[in-house]
Amino acid sequence: MNHSRIALIGNPNSGKTSIFNQLTGLRQRTGNFPGITVDKTSGTLAKYEAIEVVDLPGLYDLYPDSQDEAVVLRELVTTTDRYDAAVYVADASHLDRALLLYSQVADLGVPMIFVVNMMDEAEKSGYRFNTNRLKSRLGVPVIYTDARSGEGVDRLVSRMTEQNYDLPNAFFRSRYTRENVLENGYHIWISTCFDRYLKDNTAFAEHAEVVEALGSEGQTSILEVPQNQSTNEGIVLEDLENRKRLINIIAAEVVQSPKETRQNEITEKLDKWLTHPVFGYLIFGGILFLIFQAIFSWSALPMDLMDWTFSSLSGIIQSTFGNGVLGRLVAEGIIPGISGVLIFIPQIALLFLFIGLLEASGYMSRVVFLMDKSMQRFGLNGKSVVPLMSGMACAIPAVMACRTIENPKERLITILVTPFMTCSARLPVYAILIAVAVPSTSVLGMNLQGLVLFGLYLLGIFAALFGAAILNRFVKSNAKSYLIHEMPVYRIPKAKDILMNIWSKVKTFVWEAGRIIFVLAIALWFLASYGPNLNQKTAAYETTLTEQNIAPEILDNQVAAFKLENSYIGIVGKAVEPVFRPLGYDWKISIALLTSFAAREVFVGTLATIYSIGEDFSEETITQKLENETDPITGRKRFNLATALSLLIFYALAMQCISTLAIVRRETKSWTYPILQLLIMTALAYFGAFGVYWAFG
């Protein structure tokens, strides 16, 4: 079988991703489109690895208003790795709308298979289809599927593996071919896109690639067209109207629609409450509150179990291999470091479970509806809610999700404030510090630790909104702000899709954080186990203590502490300690803080490694190690309330994620914004932590 590359195209909420999951299962990999940073998931068919499927972002038409739409246009028109065919996924209940985008892709001359998805739902609502008529109108195979049950997917696979893809009938082919676009310069279409790109060079800088692909003739053709927006808008509207007129005729021939659907009736009943001017906000607040309570309460048992398992494993390895370098490296360095990442899997999974449920059920669109007015006051858009909420999972896809915001000013502000939202990488830091410093008691029937966690999430939200309000005063734009947004019907999320999303995100978390902490743990262990003349110094110190007749267990602890302080890492830690001392941090915390500037989730792993080195083996968990850590001078607990709160504030406000900075750089096409972000957020974190430490210290 020859290698085939097939694009998956369709409107948002058409069940495209469910089809993709059914087709590829776990044989998926996530990457970026070449040169840009929009998430691209590709995979291969089961048993047919030669067939590659690429899931493109959902969109409504090929006249791009936002960057994610521009990506699809660019992929179809200018990609060097051409697609052999496209599987077009249409929502059976909205076939008329689906045919608009289909007609544009068809006119590009892309061979296609037309999939009418969510048939089960449509048939129950009373939709009836004339398949033969639809096939003859479109000129391509038509396959009915229900991605929820998997029905029809085998027929789709069978058609895809035939590798003999049909060219669709043209709608307006004479004006609209890919060859025209590439070779002669399809001036109407591209000049319209070009005009939009020109409005904002910063946000739509990849226009250059589109124009470049046209060659000199195409570029000349573009330049000959007057860059007049009203002219272009008129051309676009005329084109869309012509298409809609033709599509309405086709739709009337091929589908019988009911007056109302069952999904709409259920949706309207639910929306009376969920979009209610009072109850809507109360329910939204309640959902957020429940999520953060659940994240803390439900994950406690599996986290404790994992923590205990890793501690026991360290013990077994140390007792098996003794005090050899390898045994100590694994028991004191690698295992504590890795466990500092892995034990947070239950919390990360729960967070992605809830975010996934909110998105897949259709509820997130209701939040956009409820929040738009409030968001405008801060210079944001209702659509900013989606990246901000996604930022609670991870800032990287959240920053990329800002591409759906059409207004460049609102988009830029959303990008800049999204990293304030409490991401999953902050969760391990919060969880461990709360567990150490906040008692696990009930207040008014609610878990106090969960309440503190909820407060930290609120702090992230307030910081983002406050930051947006300030930026709103400085960022200028003449572009019109508007909100046009579909409210999809409510659907019960598909368990397989949610679980696959959790699996993919947890895998990314473990891989991204795990590989950093693995290298870091080895480096930290060596730096903490060796130092200049360390053995001689330690021996001399031990002799001095022995002469003072100090009790053996105290002597051992003091020798271990001396050894660590005089190791390479101790020397570095002591050098940076004065910078962080005003915030209440000793040199060990300072080291953990510095290492976590690359990725904040390695903080716990670093601390776990540092506190494991030189200790006699004990089955203490990470939490217990931090709880038992004391200041050698004052004898007070190192992680007291003031220090823990100071650290929490620091991590809530600081920009400690190199990947996010890189994404901001690529999305804004400028180094200025990420550098400003890093400096301002770090300064805020430092002075915020300083204030909290002195207020509670």
Partner: protein, 59 residues
């Protein structure tokens, strides 16, 4: 029904607004927030200011 703003027209058209079918006002967000309209079995959210751009030519 006619819509004055070209960008708005384009967006509504691609979201599936059927210009021959009646538009039904469904929900209003508080404090002058967006409104949700229903047209041809689709729910679409637009701001109040944008809703005013939609002129009803005839019913």
């Amino acid at each position: 029904m006619r819509i004055r703003d070209g960008e708005l027209t384009k967006q509504l058209m691609t979201l599936g607004l059927d210009f021959s079918a009646p538009v039904e006002m469904k929900y209003k967000a508080p404090f002058g927030g967006p409104v949700c309209i229903k047209n041809n079995k689709k729910f679409i959210v637009i701001r109040s200011s944008e809703a005013q751009e939609i002129a009803i030519a005839s019913l």
